[in-house]
C-alpha cells in the first residue's frame, strides 16, 4: 500500500512540476518573441523584486526561528564557567546577527535597486583603496577583540592543569555503547588502570583497574547515573576502551573526547543541583511540552494496543558526541548534582573495587 502511495505521489509531483513549467512557458507566449534565453528587462525587473522579497523572507525566517525555537535551546548553564561561556556566546551572536542583518540587507537591496534596464550604463568603478582599507581594518579590530576575549575565556576554562587537593576526581569511562564513572574513593585518587586488566577477576574489573596499585582498591565504579556535589570543582579524566567517544555534558557547557590509549581532562564546578534545575522556569516549561508530546504519542500507541511512554522528568545528561558505531545515538548516562551531604551519603553506599574482587 505504502509503495503504491509513494509511487503515486512521485508521479503526481512529476506531473505537477511538468504542468507548472508548461504554464510558465505558456505565460511567455505572445509577450515577447525573444527566446534568446538571456535575461530581458522584464526578467531583471521580476528577479530584482524577488531579490528584495527574499531579503524579507530571510528576516522572517530569522524572526520566526528565534520566536518559535528559542524555547528548545539549553537552559541557563549549571556550571561556574558556563556563565562566562554563555556571555561570550551571546556577545558573538549579537555581532553575527548585526553583521548578517546589515550585509544581507545591502546585498539584496543593491540587487533590487540596480536591476538591469536597457541602455543604462553601469558606473565604472574599479577600486578604492581607502574604502577597502576601512573594511579590512574594521573586521580586523572586531576579530582581534573576539580573539583576545576568546583566548582569555579558554584559559580560564581549561586552566591548564591547575589542580587542588579539594577537587573531586572522576573518571568517565567510555565503551561501545555505554558510559561508566569511576571515583577515587576515600583517598580521592584513581588507581592505575589499563584495558589489559579488563579480563581479570572474571570480567568484574569493569574499567580495568590495576589490582597491584593500592590507590585503586577503594575506587568505585557506577553505571547508569553518577553523582556530583554542588559547588565543588570536579576534574574529569576521560578514557575509552575501544573507539573515539566524546563526553558531552551540554547543560554544563562541557565536552571532551575520550581517546583510547590516553587520558584526556576537563573540569568544571557544578552550581545548580538537579532539584533546583527542575524548578527552573525554562526547564519546567520544556518538561511540560515534552510530556504533552509524549502523552499524545502514548495515546496513539495505546490505541494500537502497544505500551505507552513513561512521563519525563528532567535530568542532566552525559551524551556521546563522537560517532562510535551502531548505538552511538543511545549512549547516555544521568548526572545527579546534589548537596555535599547527599553526595557523601550516596558515595559510601557504593561497592569499592576491593569488595568486588573479593
Amino acid at each position: 500500500m505504502t509503495v503504491l502511495l509513494t509511487i503515486t505521489i512521485l508521479i503526481l509531483t512529476g506531473i505537477a512540476v511538468w504542468q507548472i513549467t508548461k504554464i510558465f512557458e505558456l505565460s511567455q507566449i505572445g509577450l515577447k518573441k525573444d527566446d534568446s534565453q538571456i535575461a530581458t528587462e522584464k526578467d531583471n525587473d521580476l528577479n530584482g523584486k524577488l531579490m528584495f522579497a527574499f531579503l524579507v523572507f530571510i528576516y522572517l525566517v530569522t524572526i520566526y526561528c528565534f520566536w518559535a525555537y528559542t524555547k528548545v535551546l539549553l537552559p541557563e548553564s549549571a556550571s561556574e564557567h558556563g556563565a562566562i561561556y554563555d556571555t561570550l556566546l551571546w556577545v558573538s551572536f549579537a555581532i553575527i546577527l548585526f553583521a548578517q542583518t546589515i550585509t544581507q540587507a545591502v546585498l539584496h537591496y543593491f540587487a533590487y535597486k540596480y536591476r538591469g534596464i536597457n541602455n543604462r550604463k553601469a558606473y565604472f568603478f574599479t577600486h578604492d583603496n581607502k574604502l577597502e582599507l576601512i573594511w579590512t581594518v574594521i573586521p580586523a579590530i572586531i576579530f582581534f577583540v573576539l580573539i583576545i576575549y576568546g583566548m582569555i575565556t579558554w584559559g580560564q576554562i581549561m586552566n591548564f592543569g591547575e589542580e587542588d587537593e579539594d577537587d573531586l576526581v572522576v573518571e568517565l569511562y567510555a565503551q561501545q555503547w555505554n558510559w561508566k564513572a569511576r571515583y577515587g574513593g576515600l583517598d580521592n585518587v584513581l588507581g592505575d588502570a589499563n584495558v589489559r586488566f579488563l579480563n581479570d577477576f572474571d570480567g568484574k574489573n569493569a574499567v580495568g583497574i590495576d589490582s597491584s596499585d593500592p590507590n585503586g582498591m577503594d575506587d568505585f565504579v557506577v553505571t547508569q547515573e553518577f553523582h556530583l556535589p554542588v559547588n565543588r570543582k570536579v576534574i574529569f579524566k576521560m578514557r575509552s576502551q575501544d573507539v573515539l567517544h566524546s563526553a558531552y555534558m551540554p547543560h554544563f557547557r562541557a565536552q571532551m573526547n575520550c581517546v583510547p590509549g590516553m587520558i584526556t581532562e576537563f573540569s568544571f564546578t557544578p552550581t545548580i543541583t538537579t532539584e533546583e534545575m527542575r524548578q527552573n522556569s525554562d526547564v519546567v516549561a520544556k518538561v511540560n511540552r515534552i510530556n504533552k508530546i509524549r502523552y499524545d504519542k502514548s495515546q496513539k500507541l495505546i490505541s494500537k494496543g502497544e505500551e505507552g511512554l513513561d512521563s519525563y522528568q528532567f535530568d542532566y545528561l552525559l551524551l556521546c558526541a563522537k560517532i562510535c558505531g551502531t548505538s552511538h545515538f543511545n549512549m547516555q548516562m544521568k548526572i545527579i548534582v546534589e548537596s555535599e551531604k547527599d553526595y557523601k551519603k550516596w558515595a559510601v553506599q557504593q561497592q569499592t573495587f576491593s569488595e568486588i574482587i573479593q
Binding site: V3, V72, V106, H108, L244
Partner: protein, 598 residues
C-alpha cells in the same frame, strides 16, 4: 611568453593530422573541453544525484524515526528490514553522502569541470599542458567513483565511520560492520582519487604558469583562473598528507602496525596495538581536511567573481584585493586545521593558537564579501540564472561564514562541537555556497560547453525553489545544534529530553525534499538543453574574456587561426569612452585610451 605560445602553436598543427576515432573523441579524449564535460556528467550530475538522494533518505529517518518507508525497502533492501532503516546503514549513508559531496562532487566535479574548461580557454592556450595526464586524471577519477559505488554493494555495507573516518572506529572491523570490506574499498577509492586530483592539479598549475597567450600577464588573468591556480596549489600541498594518512591506516588495518591505535579492548579481547594515537590521524586528516573546504569554495568564488562582474556590467571591485584575499585564505587555510580538534585531547594551549589563526581567516573572507557587494553597487544587473546563483552564493557564504566565529573560537566550540550547529554551519558556508557556484558556472558556461542555451525560466524556478528550501533546511538546524543534539544520531528518540525537536526535524526534512525536487528541474533542463536548447551565439553574455572569442563549435586547439593576443585586463565593463558596455581582452588600447589602473 611568446616562445611558449609558439611551441603550443606547432603542437596544435601536429594534432590536426591525428586521425580521430569515436573512442578518442568521446571516451579517451585528451581534449580539455571533452574532459570538462566528462567531469561534469560523471562527477557533478551522476555522483551529485546519488549524494543528494542519500541525504533525502536519512532526512526521512530523522523526521519520522524508525518508521517504515517504501523507498527504504526499495533502495536499502536487507538494510531496512520491513522498510525501517537500520542504524548501521544510517551511519553508512551519512558517511558516503559526505564523501561523495565533499570529494567527488565539489572537489573533482567542480574543479574538474571548470578548471579544465576555462583554464586553456581563458588564458589563451590550445589545450592543457599535458593532455595525456589530464585524460589519465579523469579515468582515475572514474575508477575511484566506481570503487566507491561498488562499496555500497558489499554485504556488510559501505564505510560508516563518518567522512572523517577517524580510527579506531574505521580501523577495527570488530567495531562496526562498515569497517570491514566497505572501509577497505573506501580507502582504495580515496587513494586513487588523490592520485587523480594531484595529476589534475599539477596540470592546472603548469598550464596557467606556462601557456598564457601573449599579453596575458598574471594581473590580467580573470579571477576564475587565479582561484583555480591557487586551489590547485593548495591541493598539491595538502592532498599528499591525506594519502599518507590513508596509507598508514591501511597498514594499521591490514598489517598490524600501530600508528593510530593503542590500548584497545573490543568484543572481549585485548588487541595487540600499542603506542599509536588516534589524535595523530586527526592531525593528518585535517591538514588536508581544512584546506579541502577552501579547495571546494575557492573555485566557486572565482566563478562568481567572473559572473557577477559580467552580469553587473561592471569591473569586479578591488581586483587586486580579491587576489590578495585568495592568497591570504590559501596561506591561512594550511595553518588552521586544529580548530577541528579543540577538544580532541590535544594540548589546550594549541587551542589558543588555532583560534587566533582561524579568526584571522575571517578578514580576507569579509573583504571578499564586501567587494562582491560593491561590485553590485550602481551596476546594471542582468539577472541571468548564473547571476542569481552567484548572488545566492554571496548570501549563504555570509550567513554560513558568520557562524564560523562561534565554531572557530575554542571556547565556544566546546558546547557546539559535533552538534547540528556544525552541520548547519558547514553546509551553508561550503556545501550550499559551493553548489551555488557550481550551478552558476553551469548556467553561465553551458553555451561554451554544449553550444546551446539552457532554458532561463526553468533556471529561475530552480533558483528560487532551491534558495528558499536551502534556508528552510539549514537555518532552523542551528537551533537543533544549540539545543544540544549531537550530530550523526540515528534518532533522537533515545533521549526524551530532545522530544520537542521533532517538529523542527519535520520542517527541515520537508524543505530538504523540496530542495531535492528542485534539482530534478535542473537535471531536466540540463539534459533537454543539450539536445533541444536554443543554439548559442558566440558571446551570449557580452563578456570580455577570451573563451567567448573561440568558435561555438568545439575544435581541437580552440581557435581556428592564431591564438588571440591580450591587451587589457578582464574587467573592462562599461568603461567610459567605449560604445559598448564591454571591451574584450583582445581589443587593443585605443589611441587616446588609458589602460585601466587596477
Amino acid at each position: 611568453m611568446s616562445a611558449s605560445t609558439n611551441i603550443s602553436n606547432s603542437n596544435h598543427d601536429d594534432h590536426h593530422h591525428h586521425k580521430e576515432t569515436w573512442i578518442t573523441k568521446w571516451i579517451f579524449s585528451q581534449d580539455h573541453k571533452m574532459i570538462a564535460k566528462q567531469y561534469l556528467i560523471v562527477g557533478v550530475l551522476f555522483m551529485g544525484f546519488i549524494g543528494i538522494a542519500m541525504s533525502l533518505l536519512f532526512r526521512l529517518q530523522l523526521a519520522w524515526p524508525e518508521q517504515s518507508f517504501a523507498v527504504f525497502d526499495i533502495f536499502l533492501g536487507n538494510w531496512a528490514p520491513e522498510g525501517v532503516m537500520d542504524p548501521n546503514i544510517y551511519l553508512a549513508l551519512i558517511t558516503i553522502h559526505g564523501t561523495i559531496m565533499v570529494f567527488f562532487v565539489l572537489t573533482a566535479g567542480l574543479s574538474g569541470t571548470f578548471s579544465n574548461l576555462l583554464i586553456p580557454l581563458q588564458i589563451g592556450a590550445r589545450d592543457m599542458a599535458t593532455g595525456l595526464l589530464n585524460m589519465i586524471s579523469f579515468w582515475l577519477f572514474f575508477l575511484s567513483c566506481m570503487i566507491m559505488l561498488a562499496s555500497l554493494f558489499v554485504e556488510a555495507g559501505p564505510a560508516a565511520s563518518g567522512w572523517t573516518i577517524y580510527p579506531p572506529l574505521s580501523a577495527l572491523p570488530q567495531a562496526q560492520p562498515g569497517s570491514g570490506m566497505g572501509m577497505t574499498l573506501w580507502l582504495i577509492s580515496m587513494a586513487i582519487f588523490i592520485a587523480s586530483s594531484l595529476l589534475g592539479s599539477l596540470n592546472y598549475i603548469i598550464t596557467v604558469i606556462n601557456l598564457r597567450t601573449k599579453g596575458m600577464s598574471m594581473f590580467r588573468l580573470p579571477l576564475t583562473i587565479w582561484a583555480f591556480l591557487v586551489t590547485a596549489i593548495i591541493g598539491v600541498i595538502s592532498f599528499p598528507v591525506l594519502l599518507s594518512a590513508a596509507l598508514l591506516l591501511i597498514m594499521d588495518r591490514s598489517f598490524g602496525t600501530s600508528f593510530f591505535l593503542s590500548d584497545i579492548f573490543v568484543q572481549g579481547e585485548v588487541l595487540h596495538y600499542q603506542g599509536g594515537s588516534p589524535v595523530l590521524f586527526e592531525h593528518l586528516f585535517w591538514f588536508l581536511g581544512h584546506p579541502e573546504v577552501y579547495i571546494v569554495i575557492l573555485p566557486a568564488l572565482g566563478i562568481t567573481s567572473e559572473i557577477i562582474a559580467t552580469n553587473s556590467r561592471k569591473p569586479i571591485f578591488g581586483y587586486r584585493a580579491m587576489i590578495a584575499s585568495i592568497l591570504a585564505i590559501a596561506f591561512l587555510s594550511t595553518v588552521v586545521w586544529g580548530h577541528h580538534m579543540f577538544i580532541s585531547g590535544m594540548n589546550p594551549f594549541l587551542g589558543s593558537v588555532f583560534t587566533f589563526t582561524t579568526l584571522l581567516i575571517a578578514i580576507p573572507s569579509a573583504v571578499k564579501a564586501f567587494n562582491y557587494i560593491t561590485t553590485l553597487w550602481k551596476g546594471n544587473l542582468q539577472f541571468n540564472p548564473g547571476m542569481l546563483f552567484s548572488i545566492g552564493l554571496v548570501s549563504t557564504f555570509i550567513t554560513g561564514g558568520l557562524t564560523g566565529i562561534i565554531l572557530g573560537d575554542s571556547t565556544l566550540d566546546i558546547n557546539v562541537h559535533d552538534t547540528y550547529f556544525v552541520v548547519a554551519h558547514f553546509h551553508l558556508v561550503m556545501g550550499i555556497s559551493a553548489l551555488y557556484g557550481l550551478f552558476a558556472g553551469v548556467y553561465h558556461w553551458f553555451p561554451k560547453l554544449f553550444g546551446r542555451m539552457m532554458n532561463k525560466n526553468l533556471g529561475y524556478i530552480h533558483f528560487w525553489v532551491t534558495v528558499i528550501s536551502a534556508y528552510g533546511v539549514f537555518f532552523p538546524m542551528h537551533f537543533v545544534g544549540m539545543a544540544g543534539l549531537p550530530r550523526r544520531y540515528y534518532t533522537n528518540t533515545a533521549f526524551p529530553y530532545f522530544d520537542d525537536l521533532a517538529d523542527i526535524n519535520v520542517v527541515i526534512t520537508i524543505f530538504s525534499l523540496l530542495a531535492g525536487a528542485a534539482q530534478l528541474i535542473f537535471l531536466y533542463n540540463f539534459i533537454s538543453s543539450i539536445f533541444y536548447g536554443k543554439k548559442a551565439d558566440q558571446n551570449p553574455w557580452k563578456s570580455t574574456t577570451l573563451e567567448w572569442t573561440a568558435p561555438v563549435e568545439h575544435m581541437h586547439g580552440n581557435w581556428p587561426g592564431e591564438i588571440p593576443h591580450v591587451h587589457r585586463w578582464a574587467y573592462d565593463y562599461s568603461k567610459p569612452g567605449h560604445k559598448d558596455d564591454f571591451v574584450t581582452q583582445t581589443t587593443p588600447i585605443g589611441e587616446n585610451e588609458v589602460e585601466t589602473e587596477h
